[in-house]
């Protein structure tokens, strides 16, 4: 049998049910791996052996729940922009260095109620702004497959922790690719669910019309299980959908690809590296062999996505990040004589380079005289991009795409 820290969720659940090992043994194995690998990877920013072992003991005390609770004894790392009561929540920023979470995010609470055990808080780009984990105020996280390369971002630590077998699963957030891209760069399954599927209550807001919570895991089944536990209406997040949550993991077994039509957008492959193209084409061949029908789709206005994203996300961020004022919580600059200087100096010193860039971009786009030309225009083009997707989904059930145009150089 593999080491306990290397088991996926499905294997862990079946092992617990057969009483092959205890939660304490699994937790010890994960903590040992963290102690060995984290100094080099910097994937986890806070690990508390004390909290982990206490929770493991509690779960071992209710071992009759094995086989009943959907995530009994499953260790999960949580991106450091989620609140988990008693744990830190820095969002990768100096401005929240001393912050202690007063309550637990709904998504994490649901995992805990299903028997999961929180193993640590994962490194990330500052306020989830970045795609390499290099904007974290606590140092970059490295890719476990090659320490000279980045794990992707912004949920880089969440991806690296699972890829390094520190734990079988983790949570991240995705605003403009922050789960999908690191999952790809670390060789994992990552899911950015539909907007409204998972509550954002208790996560640090970046761009509220885009932010979503999602899982990382070794297998599709594992992500399906995590997602079904977290999904569903939450009175604390008015954007959550009231639609019933099906048993995602169960429905995987019922999928027959001969009934499935997949779309490929040739324009998305323009400028793609030949190795990436080769890998993408071989995936399509494999899906075709499994019975899927592949059709071409055209989404002409998705070429404006980057501009639209860089107007909408920073605009919302400039508003969301106004709460970091050096008064209510977090970092406060040392020397000031009046309130204005206190705000400006605390924010100027507490935020990193990229965060300040995006706050200013958003402030500019929302300011008098520019609102119509930038923000309003971006929201209109977003509606057109949405229309392109709605049209494409009339022809197919899902659209396939590569994550990046080029492989990452070291």
């Amino acid at each position: 049998m593999s080491n306990l820290n290397e088991l996926d969720i499905q294997s862990l659940l079946s092992g617990y049910e057969k009483k092959q090992f205890t939660v304490t043994q699994v937790a010890e194995s994960c903590l040992k791996t963290i102690a060995e690998k984290n100094p080099k990877l910097n994937a986890l920013l806070e690990v508390s052996s004390e909290k982990v072992m206490a929770r493991a003991k509690e779960l071992d005390g209710q071992s009759s729940s094995a086989g009943k609770l959907k995530l009994y004894g499953v260790p999960v790392a949580i991106k450091d922009n989620f609140l988990v009561k008693g744990w830190q929540c820095t969002a990768g920023s100096k401005i929240l260095e001393e912050y202690r979470s007063p309550y637990t995010a709904t998504s994490v609470k649901r995992l805990e109620e299903a028997g999961a055990l929180i193993i640590g808080k994962a490194n990330c780009d500052e306020f989830a702004m970045g795609s390499s984990n290099e904007t974290s105020a606590y140092g970059p996280c490295r890719n476990p497959w090659d320490l000279e390369r980045v794990p992707g971002g912004s949920s880089g630590g969440s991806a690296a922790a699972v890829a390094a077998s520190m734990c079988p699963a983790s949570l991240g957030t995705d605003t403009g690719g922050s789960i999908r891209q690191p999952a790809s760069l670390c060789g994992l399954v990552g899911v950015k669910p539909s907007y409204g599927r998972v509550s954002r209550y208790g996560i640090v807001s970046y761009a509220s019309s885009l932010d979503q919570v999602g899982p990382f895991s070794q297998t599709v089944w594992d992500s399906a299980r995590l997602l079904e536990v977290m999904s569903g209406f939450d009175p604390h997040d008015a954007t959550t959908s009231k639609a019933a949550v099906p048993d995602f993991a169960q429905s995987l077994r019922e999928t027959d690809l001969s009934q499935v039509t997949l779309g490929v957008a040739p324009s998305w492959l323009e400028g793609v590296d030949s190795d990436v193209k080769k890998a993408f084409d071989s995936s399509i061949e494999a899906l075709k062999k499994s019975g899927a029908k592949v059709v071409e789709v055209d989404l002409p206005r998705t070429r404006y996505s980057l501009s639209v994203y860089y107007l909408i996300a920073p605009s919302e961020a400039s508003s969301n990040l106004a709460r970091y004022d050096g008064v209510h919580y977090g970092f406060r600059a040392k020397d000031f004589t009046d309130s204005e200087t206190l705000y400006n100096r605390s924010r100027g010193q507490g935020f990193g380079k990229e965060v300040k860039l995006r706050i200013m971009l958003g402030t500019y786009a929302l300011s008098a005289g520019y609102y119509d030309a930038f923000y309003l225009k971006a929201t209109q083009v977003r509606r057109l991009i949405q229309q392109d997707f709605e049209d494409a989904f009339k022809k197919c059930d899902a659209i396939l795409t590569q994550l990046l145009l080029q492989p990452l150089s070291s």
Partner: protein
């Protein structure tokens, strides 16, 4: 490229104190990003306005009820400076 004054104006609106080096950096970076965005100007949007990103079955209106957070102490503990259970700020009125 934005002027130094433009960057300082945006920074003032955003409540950010910048060093001289940062002002120079953002003159260039902000200018470059904003130039890129001008590609949106030419797109015909036919007055498209409704951005449908919230699920149709989500709660449109809920009762506006105040609920006390159960652990006030935990919230206040995160503040950099407190006095008598309130957030401490520099005085805004001069005392005689």
């Amino acid at each position: 490229m934005l002027t130094k004054e433009e960057v300082l104006k945006i920074a003032r609106l955003a409540r950010l104190e910048l060093t001289d080096a940062e002002v120079a950096f953002y003159q260039n970076r902000l200018g470059r990003v904003l130039d890129y965005m001008t590609e949106l100007k030419g797109i015909e949007t036919h007055g498209a306005t409704s951005v449908r990103h919230v699920p149709l079955d989500s709660e449109k209106f809920r009762k506006d009820e105040a609920v006390n957070f159960p652990d006030k102490e935990a919230l206040l503990k995160n503040a950099p400076a407190l006095e008598e259970g309130g957030f401490l700020l520099p005085a805004i009125m001069e005392t005689e």
